[in-house]
């Protein structure tokens, strides 16, 4: 039974980990641009980035299929030029999880950047720090706790992803079957002992993550 739980657990950690890394890089970059530059359509872009938070995951999954399926805009190009398809692969599951978890990183990163006193950045500039220097020595260190808290939530959300992953990557045991999909299968098959065990493992990991991110939210300075 442990073996039957271990494969989906490891796959889940891999998918959620990669998805979190992806949202972290893209989410922090986008949040920084939106927090520091006023431009036309900024709040529209913010709303678009937050949309995955309120949309049903199956709808998001459908959008993703439209985009990255073999006949999709991006998927078609990928298939014609590189011969790869993301549908029914664990990389596809990463993409699905990343999209669903994205708003959690993006929103907390934007709030964290907006909470950094602009005077401190100005002071760093008058002291000769280059723009990347200002970002890496002042802005990011002062915002990282908020960003990290959002990142941990994104990881937890990625771990529990079901709907979008099912649409994009399917439910192939050993290849794309993550914990939440395995739970569904176990219940469907009437294997209550396996379902109980999988649920317990998932719960422990999620509670641990929430406790960790709760500690980070407390202000320090």
């Amino acid at each position: 039974m442990i073996g039957q739980a271990l494969v989906p657990l490891l796959l889940t950690l891999k998918v959620a980990g990669c998805a979190t890394l992806l949202t972290l890089v893209v989410g922090v970059a986008l949040a920084f641009v939106l927090a520091r530059h006023a431009f036309w359509g900024r709040e529209v872009l913010d709303a678009l980035c937050t949309l995955p938070l309120v949309m049903p995951p199956t709808v998001l999954g459908y959008y993703l299929i439209v985009l990255i399926g073999r006949r999709g805009w991006i998927g078609g190009w990928l298939y014609d030029n590189l011969g790869v398809s993301l549908i029914f692969t664990w990389q596809g599951a990463v993409l699905a999880s990343a999209v669903v978890a994205f708003p959690l990183v993006f929103k907390s990163a934007r709030a964290a950047f907006e909470g950094v006193d602009r005077q401190l950045e100005g002071a760093a500039r008058t002291l000769g720090a280059s723009e990347p220097g200002v970002f890496f020595r002042i802005t990011l260190p002062l915002a990282w706790r908020g960003i990290l808290a959002g990142t941990m939530l994104a990881f937890a959300r990625g771990m529990g992803e079901f709907g979008a992953t099912l649409m994009v990557a399917g439910n192939i045991p050993g290849r794309t079957q993550t914990l939440s999909l395995a739970v569904y299968d176990a219940v469907e098959a009437g294997r209550d002992d396996l379902a109980n065990f999988l649920v317990l493992v998932t719960s422990i990991v999620c509670v641990a993550i929430l406790l960790g991110s709760g500690r980070l939210w407390r202000p320090r300075h």
Binding site: Q119, L120, G128
Partner: protein, 252 residues
Amino acid sequence: MKVRVDIRKRLATDDREFRLEAAFDAEHDRIVVFGPSGSGKSVTLQCIAGLLTPDAGRIEIGERVLFDSAAGVNLPPQARNVGFVYQDYALFPHLTVERNIGFALQHAVHGRLDAEGRRRVRTFLAVFELEEMARNLPRELSGGQRQRVALARALIGHPDLLLLDEPLAALDPILRERVRRELLGVQSRFQVPMIIITHDPADVETLAENLVVFDHGHVAQTFNLKEGLAAGSEGSQRERVGRALAELYAAG
């Protein structure tokens, strides 16, 4: 050092508009900018530091042109070599006192100071009586200590000009007189020209060699107090300054 400022800037929020048209020349090392709050002093200082960009005009310190809209010159703050001390000091809250002071000497993101840099930070810690606080964070310091950290941090990179935005306003009155004298000491020790914003007449009395009086976004009057004293016309000069300040208070 000669400082020439002639700038225009319009600042607008949803319900308010402010127009700054400030022009003054000053040649002494202690230039006091005096005026009621909202008269454009702070905006002018930020334009000199490069933290705000004027709509038009020219800023020159010594032989260097920092900003000239006609010639398309606008040096970034990093290239101006102008120190800036904020009213509430803007110390980096996540860095210790010694890392705050050494900030301008460290250029790599995660680099460490070289031996020369560390020696220089130690010297500054000693000069500003901060040795015992070297490893403390800014929030653990008193108001006077914070101000000394801000001064040390701004001076360590040899700025051509030091700008101080109401450096004494955040201090209690008892401390203020002491820090005023410390500022004089710092100025003569480092031989750095200063522009000091204040709305406290006592600062004018102690610190000003050049006095620039702001009112409603304009330079209302300028005084050369150093030459005034030298020429033996101290009495009349003082009277004129006193009158100008009194008028401002009556109007404000």
